[in-house]
Amino acid sequence: MSLLKPEEGWYYKKVSKDEKMWMLIALVLCIMMFIWMVLWHVYGKQNPSSLTYRTSTTEFGKLSSAYIKQNMVGSDNGVPVVRPQPNTDVFLLAEMWRWSPVMILQKDQAYKMHISSRDVVHGLSIQPVNMNFQVYPGYDYVLEFKPTEAGEYKIVCNEFCGIGHHTMIGKIVVIEKDEDLKLYGYENFKKAPDPVATFKKEAMSETEMALQGEQVYTLKGCAACHKIDGTSQLAPSWKGLFGKDEKVLVDGKEIMVSVDESYIIESIKDPTKKVTVGFEKTPMPVFPLTDEEIDFLVAYIKTLKN
């Protein structure tokens, strides 16, 4: 009588046996599920951590680059590779649109991962093991992972983070013994190289500067958008860029410029002043680079010929 008023005495009507039975089963099920979650914290091996630190995008960015500089053992497709010691703190940075660094982990060893974002909200999704966590800017989420199986894993981003979202993919390699590194082409990545020596600029040759530039390219995340293989999905590829003529937008007007040193320096310092035609939708952010680092990058770009 859902459209009419209820029958007389509805409030005092006895609940039928079967309905009572079902309600009791449902209630017991709900209580069991509550107990189950609590018990899993005691006996289960997969529980989201409760440990979070407040941080800022700048602070975490600094922590992350300091960590990578100290622990980098090589690079893979423009992403730095680290091989952390078991039971140490690892810093994993999410940014538009890459995860850095690539990590080489040991099977059955625990690693405390600090995870945060430099810009928007991202989603950490380790595949194919399928573990998913939320990543915020300003919050350092500490998750202690212990990989239980060796193999190559990918970190997919599964929270929408802008037009290049689908290109945001990182890598974790889990090995049992050193020989396994060969499986992933990482055989030369056994130990951390000496810390990057501080060169004096005037003492460096173009080649040395270009090598430094390659490091800056990897460390600062240029590789997320600027590829060196000639593909230009999100930003112009650096391959064969130097000396090329590019069509750019200045205040809504198209002009031709020739890519030389001063143009590259200007584009890094003030990326939105001249925007290459075709990439208006993916404006480049300003990166905090020193003049020296910019010079290194210019030297590096010069070496990337067709």
Binding site: S2, L3, L4, V38, E159, K281
Partner: protein
């Protein structure tokens, strides 16, 4: 200003009827926008076709979410609230003028937000997590819509007050209107939460506020995003009870139980929004477990109670009509030719078996790790809000066309097929998405081959099959929706006029005769069905925990 309905005998306030019509029309328009976008999205995610570019894919995900989850549902619910508080109670509309103000606010909000999205100024998804920023007019559009909806909800309470004062319904509200009242109360909480988060975000997009903390944003946004789904559930369950009454003359076998279950929704669902933060930093496990279990489970309990109460109301009435043989004669001799009835039965099955089971399992703290932000999540809510709410709303429309729009249903044969087609389509779509998600496929992702990324990842080869199945389901569901929209549009604008009971294509059953006193179970068939449900639930439960136990250790 009143007409007496020659079919139901209800007194119908004409100004209310007009408002119901306009809100319902806008609901249908929103649904059309949503499903056109949905088809393009499915054809994009199916990699062999990969129809849209990245930009338009994300734009239409935003567009689809807003139109399907907000505009279609809320416009329809407002129509339902007006119907339940005036026509059903034989009473007048408290302030038709304010009703039009509400309608104009909502309609202009719809237009504003949609135009801004299509202009490419708000590619932020429905959730618009800060610091992703949309154009200020996008947020303003949603705020206007929400203010309009809030006024409409206030008018619903105004109508109830008039009905009470004029003693239109006696001591107790009819169950249908009671259920809608709980929906309206949840709507007030939800819309207030929405204001709490959209207003600062709007000011932030204007540059007046410096920062909207992303974790705080997500916490409060889900107070809107999830609670609003509970408005849908309360409204949908109310309609289930109403269809039981209209189709077989059934009523809840114990109204006190059904009403108490509605109250549980009001008390506990807001806290349950916490299950959107299960794998987030910033909140502790104790907070997560508490808010997702006691609070949510009491709301889950409410749905479990309805899961018995609604089918048993059909069963009990059918048995009293004499369909008493065995356990399931009541079901086999049910009015399957009535599209409202078949819609509701299919909605109950889909909501329970697909949406409900996965919702509870995915909403547990630890198992959320293996599904969070994967495509299994939209797969789950296709089961709840599409098979459940949308199919229910489609079904009840088959009654609204003759009773409110006073037109015969054009293409009634198609109307009988449409609920089945829609059910099959969405069930395929939804189940495929859930399986894909369990295999790790992310949601809201333009290219699962990761073109342009430094690395790539190949999902389990089984995904190819489920992608194809998902596309097939999507196309079937799209077709079924278009059939429904065509039936509605042709009937409402071109259908022959209804001149009396003889023109009713859907029967309205008289009340089932009173029960003879009997011992034993009131609804044994329903009890068996709920046990089947329990088994399916337990299977999904243990599978998910088994998969979780196979992952890396994390703490």
């Amino acid at each position: 200003m009143f007409r007496i309905c020659d079919i139901t005998g209800f007194k119908v306030d004409l100004s209310s009827e007009k408002l119901i019509r306009y809100n319902a029309v806008f609901a249908v328009v929103s649904l059309l926008l949503a499903v056109v976008a949905a088809l393009l999205l499915v054809l994009t995610r199916y990699q062999p076709i990969h129809l849209l570019g990245a930009e338009w894919y994300y734009r239409l995900v935003t567009f689809h979410g807003l139109n399907a989850l907000i505009f279609w549902i809320i416009f329809f619910e407002i129509a339902g609230l007006y119907f339940g508080s005036t026509v059903v109670l034989n009473t007048r509309f408290c302030s038709p003028k304010a009703g039009w103000v509400a309608f104009i606010l909502m309609a202009s909000g719809l237009v504003m937000s949609n135009v801004i999205i299509l202009m490419g100024k708000a590619d932020v998804m429905l959730t618009s997590y800060t610091p992703l920023k949309a154009h200020p007019l996008y947020y303003l559009g949603i705020i206007l819509f929400a203010v309009g909806a809030l006024i409409a909800v206030a008018l619903f309470f105004g109508n109830l007050m008039i009905a009470r004062r004029e003693n239109a319904y006696g001591d107790s509200l009819p169950l249908f209107t009671y259920g809608l009242m709980t929906a309206a109360i949840i709507a007030v909480i939800t819309l207030a939460t929405g204001a709490l988060i959209y207003i600062p975000t709007f000011l932030w997009s204007l540059g007046l506020v410096e920062n909207v903390d992303p974790a705080m944003y997500k916490l409060i946004w889900w107070g809107l995003g999830h609670s609003s789904q509970q408005i849908n559930v309360a409204a949908m369950v109310s309609i289930w009870y109403m269809v039981s009454f209209l189709a077989v003359g059934g009523t809840s076998i114990n109204e006190k139980v059904s009403r108490s279950a509605f109250v549980l929704y009001i008390l506990f669902i807001c806290l349950a929004s916490a299950h959107h933060l299960l794998t987030d930093p910033g909140v502790s496990s104790a907070w997560k477990v508490w808010n997702t279990s006691y609070a949510m489970y009491l709301a889950v309990l409410a749905s479990m109670i309805h899961a018995f109460a609604v089918p048993s109301s059909f069963e009990s009435a059918q048995r009293r009509w004499g369909y008493n043989k065995g356990l399931f004669e009541w079901l086999s001799k049910a009015p399957w030719g009535n599209p409202a009835f078949s819609s509701v039965i299919l909605a109950i099955i889909g909501f329970g078996f697909i949406g409900g089971t996965t919702g509870v399992v995915f909403g547990m703290e630890q198992t959320n790790i293996i599904v969070h932000n994967t495509i299994a999540i939209p797969g789950h809510f296709k089961g709840t809000v599409v098979i459940g709410t949308t199919l229910t709303f489609m079904g009840i429309t088959y009654y609204l066309i003759p009773l409110i729009f006073r037109r015969k249903i054009v293409g009634f044969k198609w109307a009988k097929v449409q609920p089945w087609l829609f059910f099959i389509g969405i069930a395929l779509l939804s189940i495929s998405m859930i399986v894909l998600g369990q295999l790790g496929v992310p949601r809201r992702h333009w290219d699962s081959t990761f073109s342009g990324g430094p690395f790539t990842h190949n999902f389990n080869p089984a995904v190819d099959f489920f992608w194809a199945l998902m596309m097939l389901g999507g196309v079937i569901a799209f077709t079924a929706t278009i059939i429904w929209i065509l039936i509605v549009v042709f009937s409402v604008f071109l259908g022959p006029k209804v001149n009396g009971p003889q023109d009713m294509q859907l029967t309205i059953s008289p009340l089932a005769p009173p029960a003879k006193s009997h011992k034993g179970f009131e609804a044994p068939g329903t009890l068996i069905l709920t046990f089947v449900f329990l088994l399916v639930f337990l299977a999904i439960f243990f599978l998910n925990w088994k998969w979780l136990a196979a992952t890396w250790y994390v703490k």
